[in-house]
Amino acid sequence: MREVAVIGVSMIKFGRYPDRDVSQLAAQAGHEALTDAGVEMKTIEALYSGNLYQTSGSGQRILQQLGQTGIPVVNVANACATGSTAFREAYFAIASGAYDIVMALGSEQMGKQGLLGSRGDPATSLEGRVGSYMMPAVFGMAGMEHSKQYGTQPEHFALASVKNHYHSTQNRLAQYQKESPLDEVMNGRMIAYPNTLLMCCPTGDGAAAAILCSMDKARQYTTQPIKVAASVLTSDPWTDRDLSLPDINTLTKNAAKIAYETAGIGPEDLSQVELHDCFATAELLHYENLGLCEEGMAGKHVASGAPWIGNKIPTKYQEDVAPFQDKTYKPKTTTVVNASGGLLSKGHPLGATGVANIAEIVWHLRGQAGARQVEGSKIGMAHVIGLCSACTLNVLQK
């Protein structure tokens, strides 16, 4: 297997684009990634296009906008891990030696539709009659498992939301760039206990792209090739309750083990992680799943300031956070989590998310992240989970 580099990335501002077609959004991201890499469309040998709602032919429709060069197009759908799975396919296309330079794209147009509608005949739907199968229920209950086991309080989960909304104020591409102090998060409208509205990611439209190249050819295009040190995909193994409550933990732990072994690093080596905070509860679970803190310590970890940009709680929030801090807690890592604002603020247009996370890490590794720059970032990891269930981890290295 050959070494693979990312030589160009892009992300359009996430939000709502009622006047544009999803293939136009994607083509814009593709064009910006080509410009970033200094590569022309005719140089690209294959396209891996991730899109969940408009899957069939989505990649081909993007090339109708961007350039119909006749290259192979693979359309990828893998729940919320759609974009990151497209990236992984692109990675293997280069690593295997099949191609030298390819594009990975993620796009989605969700409009204002919520995720509450039931498909098919309401008369025979289980939703709300025999439990709930919607994402807010799954991630509410996943958080409650942590509370049951470790006594984690709603405020601990809410702090992930406070942090990510704070981070997003420095990200002009985020869907929302608005701070929300702890009391505002806690007093928000309840969606599915313990997650309030501000602890749930928004729906939206967006697109992101990456140009991947063999490392030996990468220096023709850039002085800052970013190495893909690991690209991992797992599905959910059989666990006791997985068929009733999707187990988002085991497959992430399995992926982390493979990613760290492949990259030859440990969690303490990660300058930063973009992880799948679709709900505030999820962020805390993944601190532990990715080994950023010890089992059961996620609440103390977020309150310690370690995963915040600068590794400390901003002065204005210190008083709010103090009651939930354990002064004796020593963070295992100083890995910054979701410097972009995370899904909670940056937004989560399903198919776009997995490529946008990679773009974010690449910008930091190049020192191009502006006011939210994680100082001296050397190694970063992008994590995505899709139900039920796919987990991707991509480790990127300067």
Binding site: P122, T124, S125, E145, L243
Partner: protein, 140 residues
């Protein structure tokens, strides 16, 4: 020629519920893998744990369960009254299932490990007039 209209039926809303002559005779059932012992709600063709293609032993479940975890859904799908308690409950027969719990939907009213009893009731009716029966749990 007169059209034949099928008589409305009483049907289970989920495949792991079997309908009796009265609601007191309704029961949940599962399938136990004879190779590895894994228990599933409802019928099963293959074992996801050990990949065996059976045989599966049908097991009739009793009405007891206890709360594993729960959430309170405030923003529900349009035809459902909210807030309500959605939960994963553990059955003593060795399987976990999704359900609603009938209590005043406040966090302090549901405890991890709380003992529950199953009951069934009409959940919905389709355009042809068929009735669908769902199971729920309430504190024991």
């Amino acid at each position: 020629m007169a059209e034949t209209v099928a008589a409305p039926e009483i049907r289970p809303l989920v495949p792991h519920l079997r309908i009796g002559a009265t609601r007191e005779e309704d029961y949940l059932f599962g399938s136990k893998c004879s190779t590895c012992g894994a228990m599933y709600a409802g019928p099963r063709l293959f074992c996801g744990k050990c990949s065996a293609s059976g045989p599966f032993e049908e097991v009739k479940f009793g009405r007891d369960a206890e709360v594993h975890v729960f959430t309170i859904i405030h923003q529900a799908t349009p035809y459902v009254k909210a807030p309500y308690v959605a939960a994963i409950v553990d059955l003593p027969e060795g399987v976990s299932i999704n359900t609603n719990i009938e209590v005043d939907p406040k966090p302090e009213n549901v405890k991890f490990g709380m003992k529950l009893k199953m009951y069934t009731e009409k959940a919905s009716e389709d355009k042809e007039g068929n009735t669908y029966i769902a199971y729920r749990y309430r504190p024991a």
